[in-house]
């Protein structure tokens, strides 16, 4: 069943069955961490997260449940938001401005070491090829499955697993050598 809404869009009334607030609350942390893993900057990650959900909300009436999972839809929007960001900023991120991640649950003594380890790891992540960074951000930031990542990136599931495995090994070796 179709109906006409503002702006002349023809949408399926099915989309109204989604609890948008609940779904957004569920996905905001995943989108945020996707940007955080990819861009290494909290402030930018927050801005892009907000931009993603605002863009999603503008077109939410066009979303059709029967055509794909919500995660695929929202992460496709997130990827476009990030592409726009790179186009604007030319992806000129200096390693010096990569933020330190502070684990608030660690003790004061451990905090300094933990900060340094994480900062170092962020630098290593940043030095990976963009495609590997993207896959790690989707896997560990957004917590998507290999199948979902494969759908988003047009890679095969096997290919996704292989690339991720190699990237992780590379990171671990670099981390062990430098620590």
């Amino acid at each position: 069943m179709f109906r006409i809404i503002d702006g002349g869009y023809v949408v399926q009334s099915q989309s109204s069955s989604i609890n948008w607030e609940q779904t957004f609350r569920e996905y905001i942390p995943r989108i945020y961490n996707f940007f955080l893993y990819r861009l290494c900057n909290r402030m930018v990650a927050e801005d892009l997260t907000a931009a993603t959900f605002e863009r999603a909300w503008k077109s939410h009436r066009r979303y059709r449940e029967n055509l794909g999972a919500f995660s695929t839809w929202i992460f496709t929007i997130a990827q476009r938001v990030m592409a726009d960001h790179f186009r604007r900023e030319h992806h000129e991120i200096s390693l010096d401005v990569i933020e330190l991640f502070i684990d608030t649950e660690t003790s004061v003594e451990d905090a300094s070491q933990h900060q340094q380890n994480l900062a170092h790891l962020r630098k290593l992540l940043y030095m990976l090829p963009p495609r590997d960074q993207e896959l790690i951000a989707l896997r560990y930031g957004a917590e998507l499955t290999s199948r979902q990542i494969a759908q988003l990136t047009n890679l095969s599931e096997t290919n996704v697993n292989t690339i991720l495995s190699r990237a992780i090994q590379k990171l671990r070796k670099s981390l062990e050598v430098t620590l």
Partner: protein
């Protein structure tokens, strides 16, 4: 820590303030009255714009014979369909051949050198200049001050083409109302890109108008009024003859 466990350590919860702001700016944000008003206003603006453009187009179409003739001509060439037809009302007549008084006659060579235009160069096969009265092929009437010429061509089947020219003192306008009768119609065409009127029929000797008797094309060019008649030609043929007159 397994081989990928360390990568999970970077995850962190977004600030609650940011989450609430996103929810507030999206899901909880109802369309404001202002936004609805803008939608409403934009709709009316679109309707108003369409109305204005439509009115202007209609005005141009109904007041400009050049535009109508151009559209007719284009459509006729594309599809052969005539979509614009000018209904002629029987209110005012202009001079017919029967109304012209014979005053003088000259030869065709004299006529050609006298008139500021060339006689048609394109005529259907087998048509020859026919004697009009006695041995004269061109009839000139009302020689002073404005001569009116008439020349006729005829073929073996006695089908006739005739051309009448005069100084354009009729203030001819394609919208001129001709006394053709209610059942007849004229259509606007182009002769050398200028608007002209093509209509069916002719006046018979008894000054009765016969709508089934041939077709006539009238137009003006450089101050000369032309009236070309053919008893058995198609629209395209008579227009071609007219366009061959310089």
């Amino acid at each position: 820590m397994n081989h990928e466990q360390f990568l999970h350590q970077f995850r962190e919860s977004p600030r609650q303030e940011m989450v609430e702001r996103i929810i507030e700016n999206t899901v909880l944000k109802a369309p404001s009255e202002k936004k609805q008003l803008i939608h409403f206003t934009n709709s009316w603006k679109r309707i108003a714009a369409i109305f204005v453009v439509g009115s202007i187009c209609s005005l141009i179409l109904f007041t400009s014979p050049e535009v109508r003739a151009q559209i007719d001509n284009t459509l006729r060439r594309i599809s052969g369909i005539l979509v614009l037809t000018t209904q002629i009302l029987p209110e005012e007549s202009f001079s017919t051949p029967q109304a012209i008084m014979l005053n003088n006659t000259i030869s065709i060579e004299q006529a050609q050198s006298f008139v500021p235009f060339k006689l048609p160069t394109l005529l259907p096969a087998n048509y020859e200049i026919a004697p009009y009265i006695l041995d004269w092929s061109i009839l000139v009437v009302a020689a002073e001050p404005d001569p009116v010429f008439q020349i006729r061509w005829i073929n073996d089947d006695h089908e006739v083409i005739s051309l009448i020219t005069s100084i354009d003192n009729t203030n001819y306008d394609p919208d001129i109302q001709l006394n053709l009768g209610e059942d007849n119609y004229a259509r606007e065409v182009l002769v050398n890109r200028q608007p002209a009127l093509l209509y069916n029929g002719s006046w018979e000797a008894n000054q009765e108008y016969d709508p089934s008797s041939g077709i006539r094309l009238i137009w003006t060019h450089n101050g000369i009024f032309y009236s070309l008649f053919a008893s058995d030609l198609e629209d395209v043929e008579i227009i071609s003859i007219a366009e061959s007159i310089e």
